[in-house]
Symmetry: C2
Subunit: 466 residues, 2 copies
């Protein structure tokens, strides 16, 4: 593994400033290019416009100085592109996705989702923030470096997949099959929003997940609760009893034996980082409409969100769910739960623990696994951390916030576990990007800043600011 | 109160046999009359055909020897009719209803619901069993007595309401307003099915009910469980915890303080009756598709069904209830529960206990009362019991089964509590009448038997078999 640079505290050299000025002077051209990419639909779940987008993306990558190839999967293709400068420089693997979410509800869009429109300093379109805008910013970063410096300062490998919004069903296999092609020193993902303060984020991991469905069954049909109630058992009560046995709700602790096994204690650096994240409790309380007293205080908030597992009921249903009354003993009841997992919990092992608990405390209740993803975390003190922080500082003129982890889950383990490299998530979108929602947008300022960040990261990693 | 007769063990005298023979010989005519009444829709929830049916019913009642009047309510009218023989004879209040359930799903009917059709010894039509067929059988019993004997042997008062399938919203008020008109020594309701063995039933009460809805609220919208899970509480968990605190599911005991207060111990006669009810555990297990081991044994089955209260979850829902996965912290969760009550539990008091429990164990969870009905029970050793049993034995040639109570709820308290008289439910429909369902039907044999039962009950009550 490449060993970083110790020069990251020095002042940013003039060539990178030239790149920044090039970016600023090409702002309209870059925006036009992005508009063209955004105008091309690429809805992965519907299979709309995938090949057209892949082709267009490969053209942009080639124009930016990357040699490209298409990696076919049994789903949508993955686009690979690289620019090599030499084995004495580190290699960065940049991950992104060119597919987008569906556009429904279409009536809620102020302008059509595939007719990119600029207003109030933002570009509105499906995919503006998630993820075409951020992906394109990185390509323009690479292009600007190539224009000004003649080449990229560090080796770059890009993988842009077309199935992220569909759960990345083929990404792991592609990476397993192309380990040597994808060999790199670190991975960078630019997806998601910045901190609500506008300060840049460097995220060092994600929580994993296991998703289960519990089903309790009673009679073969709903029964009249008057004619049968008493002698005939109710499956909803059995499900409630099982669920209650799985968690001490008041203490917020999961009561499934072995659930907390294998959790690595957080490090001193992680604890410090958690303490340093600004928390606007009043703002959250207002935004969610919940009482301030219900929110954890201080670093507890981010400790619970980023470094502790959860067991959460996503949905529960059984019997009559309409208005008013219906007097029945329901035939069955179902609960859907996700457990967010932290390093080094293993989704398969946790599912086994849940299965055992259900067998012991919920006789006859069925448990099914509906999905899983491994957690991932890159140590805060890895050799690239301060380089990337310096690079972000240089490009944004703001102090980055360090997130030891997202609360959410992404296939980050593919980099940290399968490729065995550190992985950094550096989101460039504005906090209110409305991803997965109508009127998705990206602030132009953020788009330009993302372009500069990419250029800055590659330059800083090379230890080379000429 | 009229003091019954001690002659009820004697052999049935010949005049009643004459009435039975009259019924048998007028079977086709009675069936034609019933067909006409069934062909006239009277769907109370839709307000369809109510006045036409009320008019038709009054005509039949007049032809049967009753003086009728219509009692208007702010809903559908109640039809009253009486035949008076003298103050030395007991007065029977016969309750029934002329409204019917909606017919959906219409496609599932083999013949149209308002085109009465006879096949395989049954008459098929909406209302055949519930309740026009049973009501008409009673009127034909009165008519047959009048034809053969010149008058009814006991005083008869009929009230037939048009809103039973709508929850009898005006019945209590009408009865309160007409206490002296409705003054009687006992009440008879012929509704519901016979025991599955085909033996006649005499039912001495009903369970009461209180219906509540519990709502737990979290944030003002569903939240991404990755982005918020940990620091933000989940209202489904809070609801599960509250529900679990309300019942020891394994022991089947309600854990709400004071819930079991006021319950009258069952009497020796009731215990004997519970033991004497035939229980086909294998049949129930097969019918419901549940394991035999899940069914209580011996008299426990009917003890739990008829003489113990329940707390039952009719429905529960919150968050994602579709197929597959969605990872959210639901914004709210709701549970609907009915508690079936036994004498002398009071629905208002029980609701107060539930409210208190929720306040103590489910902070912030809302409880609403959606409905209630008082329980009712007539003592098994009341002076009319053996008279009615003798009458049923005479008319059916079978040994009646005594139910101390139904598991279900009916406004029976109106007779026992408001009018202060004993009340008997004597169902005449076949066990598979499919009430509230497509292809509702009444076996012709049961219809004729119901006619004879009515004649027999009035004759036996008069102690007069001439």
């Amino acid at each position: 593994m490449y060993k970083g640079t110790s020069a990251h505290t020095e002042e940013v050299s003039s060539p990178l400033e030239k790149v920044y000025r090039f970016v600023d002077s090409h702002r309209d051209e870059f925006l036009q290019g992005l508009s063209k990419l955004l105008a091309q639909p690429s809805i992965s779940t519907l299979g709309v416009g995938i090949n057209e987008t892949a082709k267009m993306l490969m053209d942009v990558m080639e124009e930016s100085g990357l040699r490209t190839r298409k990696i076919e999967t049994s789903g949508h293709p993955l686009i690979y592109g690289d620019a090599v400068v030499g084995p004495d420089k580190p290699t960065v693997l940049i991950y992104g996705h060119y597919d987008v979410q569906p556009v429904e509800p279409i009536d809620a869009w102020a302008t059509p989702p595939f007719q990119p429109t600029i207003r109030d300093g933002r570009i509105y379109a499906r995919g503006a923030g998630d993820n075409k805008g951020q992906l394109y910013a990185q390509l323009m970063g690479i292009r600007s470096l190539t224009e000004i410096l003649g080449n990229v300062p560090a080796n770059v490998k890009c993988i842009f997949e077309g199935e992220e919004e569909n759960g990345s069903p083929h990404l792991e296999q592609v990476v397993m099959d192309n380990k040597s092609l994808l060999k790199a020193d670190l991975a960078i993902t630019a997806d998601g929003p910045l901190h609500e303060s506008g300060r840049p984020l460097i995220v060092f991991g994600v929580r994993g997940m296991v998703y289960v469905e519990l089903t309790a069954r009673g009679a073969n049909r709903d029964l009249h609760s008057g004619n049968w109630g008493g002698p005939i058992a109710n499956p909803v009560w059995r499900l409630v009893r099982l669920l209650n046995s799985m968690k001490d709700v008041k203490a917020g602790r999961v009561n499934v034996s072995g659930f907390y096994d294998r959790i690595k204690p957080i490090t001193v650096e992680e604890m410090k980082a958690l303490r340093a994240i600004p928390l606007d409790r009043e703002g959250i309380s207002r935004e969610l409409g919940i009482r301030l007293s219900e929110l954890p205080e201080g670093e507890d908030y981010y400790t619970k969100l980023m470094t502790e597992p959860t067991l959460n009921i996503c949905g529960i249903y059984g019997g009559y769910t309409g208005a008013g009354t219906k007097t029945i003993i329901p035939s069955k009841a179902t609960a859907k739960l996700d457990a967010r997992l932290v390093p080094d919990q293993d989704p398969g092992e946790v599912f086994g623990r849940l299965e055992k608990h259900v067998a012991e405390h919920g006789e006859g209740i069925e448990i099914k696994k509906l999905g899983s993803m491994r957690p991932s975390r890159t140590p805060l003190d890895n050799p690239f951390s301060s380089v990337i922080a310096d690079a972000m500082r240089s490009a944004t003129k703001k102090e980055p916030i360090i997130y030891p982890s997202l609360g959410a889950s992404l296939p980050d383990y593919i980099f940290t576990r399968i490729l065995g490299i550190p992985s950094f998530i550096t989101p460039y979108a504005n906090h209110d990007e409305s991803n997965h929602a109508p009127n998705e947008n990206l602030k132009i300022e953020n788009f330009i800043q993302g372009t500069k960040c990419c250029a800055s990261i590659l330059t800083h990693l090379a230890g080379d600011r000429r």
